[in-house]
């Protein structure tokens, strides 16, 4: 390994500029989206049944239609499946190929497994406002039987989807023929038992539960509890607890809405359940604080058990200090001992036992500190970056601008900047570390701060739960990288 980094060298390219729309389950007939390019439409005209899609035609197309912008990425608990949600309300699920002994160098690649329209745009007649269909979050449930379950949410409604396979179908009905037409009973002379015949694999997604009408404000997070029976949904001011089986009621466990809305100065930005303790959860705020709550203490968790906040550095203070301290994402470590927060310029790792300051602080793109005013002007300062842990909690990853994403090794304290772009990525080529030059003379491979493309931002990334495979969403492209095996 030439560059000494332990991960992410080889890459398998998967470009998804456009999502293919398939039939999902009973009764959900999808018509082709009008946003698809005309050339692709003709290719897909014949597709009405659900097959394992051959996505070869999806490569090398770079139509950046708004509906195709990926808004969330999530591996399932085993890492076998990877789900993405986009602004158009669609969910695409990828499945890892089984490794074959014949081709050991082609370690399990991800292929499209299922695609379905999770949410549709809605209209709130009371407020005369449109409700976006954009998928804000996807969370997988652990697998209990042959089917896969995931929760997906837009601004207002959470849905539980069941994704199941069907590779057999019954044939030989008595009352209807092969095409489904009713047979004239007079013509039936003998009875037969229908037999299950193999068929082409069909993956269907059906909505099993719809959890709606519980949020006045926009849902920003969902998190499944360790008990696998409950989950919580979080909007700007409230957190609700649901039972997965019950859709017509939910319990409010946190409410920070002030009596007078004009006194509002702080909102909830993210929340998550503890991975091992079903009674514990955390939520982050726009003022840079994290509160840990224990549901055993009281039914309404407005009083926190722990309060994590770093004292402000008075020398670094500006009018933008509060905005950049706003936490955009919060994640427990897999062990449950640490939590990680992402604010605009840094990633911080906190020890659950120390509330006064973070354990570690990593600068993601400190060179932006002098550009805050411009970033405020073009609204980039409000971008919500996510952060992820690797399976062993030794490396953390987060995105940046110019399609850069950063990784920090907590043990060696080394960090790397990589780029997710087609020009710089060839199959099986090692990803080259990138560097942003801050001032003075720029070396050959470096990029200067002023040349950064702020429209290319990596907000959503995911790390395989046990292996060094990462998924990076760059606008409407999904990149999957894995580390090299010698």
């Amino acid at each position: 390994v030439s560059n000494g980094y332990l991960f992410v060298q080889e890459q398998t390219l998967r470009f998804l500029p456009l999502f293919h729309i398939l039939i999902s389950g009973k009764g959900l007939i999808m018509t082709k989206s009008a946003q698809l390019a005309p050339t692709l439409l003709s290719q897909m005209d014949e597709e009405i049944d659900t097959r394992k899609i051959n996505n070869s035609f999806l490569r090398d197309h770079n139509y950046a239609t708004e509906a195709d912008i990926i808004s969330t990425v999530e591996f399932n608990p085993t890492g076998e499946l990877l789900a993405t949600g986009d602004k158009g309300g669609r969910v695409v699920v990828f499945q890892r190929e089984q490794e074959s002994k014949n081709q050991p160098h082609r370690r399990g690649e991800y292929n499209v497994y299922s695609t379905f329209q999770s949410h549709e745009p809605e209209f709130d007649y009371l407020k005369s406002l449109e409700i976006e269909e954009k998928i804000n979050k996807i969370r997988w449930l652990p697998q209990q039987n042959a089917a896969y379950f995931l929760l997906s949410t837009n601004d207002k409604t959470v849905k539980l989807w069941k994704i199941s396979e069907r590779d057999k179908r019954p044939e030989g009905y008595n009352l209807k023929d092969e095409e489904g037409r009713i047979r004239d009973p007079a013509t039936i002379t003998a009875l037969r038992v229908p037999v299950l015949q193999p068929m082409d694999l069909m993956v269907e997604a059906t909505p099993r539960r719809v959890f709606s009408n519980a949020h006045t404000y926009h849902i920003n997070s969902i998190s499944v509890s360790n008990d696998y029976e409950t989950y919580m949904s979080t909007d700007d001011l409230r957190i609700n607890l649901w039972n997965l089986e019950i859709t017509n009621q939910s319990f409010n466990i946190v409410d920070i809405k002030p009596a007078n809305m004009e006194e509002l100065t702080e909102v909830i930005t993210a929340a998550e359940f503890h991975p091992n303790q079903c009674n514990t959860f955390i939520y982050s705020s726009s003022k840079g604080s994290i509160r840990l709550c224990d549901m055993r203490a009281s039914a309404l968790c407005d009083n926190h058990s722990k309060f994590f906040e770093e004292p402000e550095d008075p020398s670094n203070r500006s009018f933008f200090s509060e905005i950049i301290s706003s936490i955009s994402d919060v994640k427990f470590s897999h062990s449950g001992r640490y939590l990680m927060t992402r604010d605009y310029l840094t990633v911080k790792v906190w020890d659950l036992n120390m509330e006064s300051k973070p354990l570690e602080t990593y600068q993601v793109h400190d060179y932006l500190r002098s550009k805050l005013c411009s970033l405020y002007e073009n609204d980039c300062i409000f971008d919500k970056f996510e952060c992820v842990w690797n399976g062993s909690d030794s490396v953390i990853m987060t995105g940046s601008y110019n399609n850069f994403f950063r990784m920090f090794d907590r043990n060696t304290k080394r960090d790397v900047t990589l780029e997710a772009s087609r020009e710089n990525s060839k199959p099986r080529a090692i990803l080259k570390p990138r560097k942003v030059c801050v001032g003075g003379k720029r070396r050959k491979d470096e990029i200067s701060v002023d040349s950064l493309d702020f429209s290319k931002k990596i907000l959503h990334t995911a790390w395989h739960p046990s292996e060094n495979i990462i998924a990076v969403a760059a606008t409407n492209n999904l990149y999957i990288f894995q580390d090299k095996v010698n």
């Binding site: 006194e263 003022k287 906040e309 004292p311 402000e312 500006s318 009018f319 002098s370 550009k371």
Partner: protein, 289 residues
């Protein structure tokens, strides 16, 4: 404190690079020598003004979207508060009051008087006037040095503090109130009669409201009202309606910016319309647009 009359008038020219540099560091101003001081301070106040306008414009545009992003709106509103507080703190509102030019409003006069008080006492002192940074959270106590006196303002972690201790220094000391161990100076220029009634309300941290030097109850900031009105349907209940109606049409200096923000056709107190148009007109003349 700068001499009256030499304060630059807002010019809509934007210098981005300067802005970027200015806002990256703390808002502490350094008084090196008299000559540099004026230039630096002028440039700083220009940039601060343009940041304020930008923020108000953003808040304005929020309403035109399908549904405003609450987090973003709250952050922008907090930024506007900070700027307004700082501007009130160092008396930059004087520009606006002068623009109103003898409209004869009681509160404006009151503020102007404050200015005189602060100025004269500092001129006696001759020493530098340091501003410590204003913080909403994290900083438990701020000390602001004006002249030789120390006003310490304790910041609670729930409600944004009324960081008006500095202005209050120039006011009658008797107006300092102590509530639950937290000393806040509610003497923001409200007229005597209304102050006692609003003291309780102000203590809850209605920062925008306290800056409104009018007879109205706090919370009648039209920009903020519109901001959150879209988000919460329950806003349109009796309490808030009454609050809104209580707000007097009298314009204080802070309403100026509010009117600038809300001049683009959003819902506003209809009783202010005539005044708003007049003030807009005056402002245009000053700005020279």
């Amino acid at each position: 404190m700068r001499k009256r009359g030499s304060r630059p008038i807002y010019m809509p020219v934007r210098r981005r690079r300067e802005k970027a540099n200015m806002y990256s560091k703390g808002t502490k101003r350094k008084f090196s020598d008299g000559v540099d001081n004026k230039a630096v301070a002028a440039s700083y106040s220009l940039q601060r003004q343009s940041l304020l306008d930008m923020s108000l414009l953003k808040l304005q545009l929020c309403h035109m979207l399908a549904e405003p992003n609450l987090c973003r709106s709250v952050l922008i509103a907090n930024t506007v508060r900070q700027i307004q507080e700082e501007m009130a703190h160092d008396g930059s509102w004087q520009v606006v009051t002068e623009a109103l030019g003898g409209s004869g409003h009681g509160p404006s006069d009151r503020l102007v008087d404050t200015e005189v008080l602060c100025q004269s006492s500092e001129q006696q002192d001759g020493g530098p006037r340091l501003y410590s940074v204003m913080g909403y959270d994290g900083c438990r106590e701020e000390e602001v040095v004006t002249d030789k006196a120390l006003c310490s303002v304790v910041v609670g972690d729930r409600a944004p503090a009324l960081l008006l201790g500095t202005i209050g220094h120039c006011w009658d000391r008797g107006e300092l109130r102590v509530e639950d161990g937290v000393s806040k100076d509610s003497g923001t220029g409200e007229e005597e009669g209304t102050k006692s009634g609003e003291g309780a309300k102000m203590a809850t941290g209605q920062v925008f409201g306290t800056f409104e030097i009018k007879n109205g109850a706090p919370g009648s900031d039209p920009a903020l009202e519109e901001l959150f009105s879209d988000v919460d349907a329950s806003y349109y209940d009796l309490d808030t309606m009454l609050t809104g109606m209580q707000s007097a049409p009298k314009m204080g200096p802070y309403d100026f910016l509010d009117s600038l923000a809300s001049s683009h056709g959003s819902v506003s107190n209809s009783s202010c319309r005539a005044d708003l148009n007049e003030l807009d007109h005056i402002m245009e003349i000053i700005v020279g647009s």
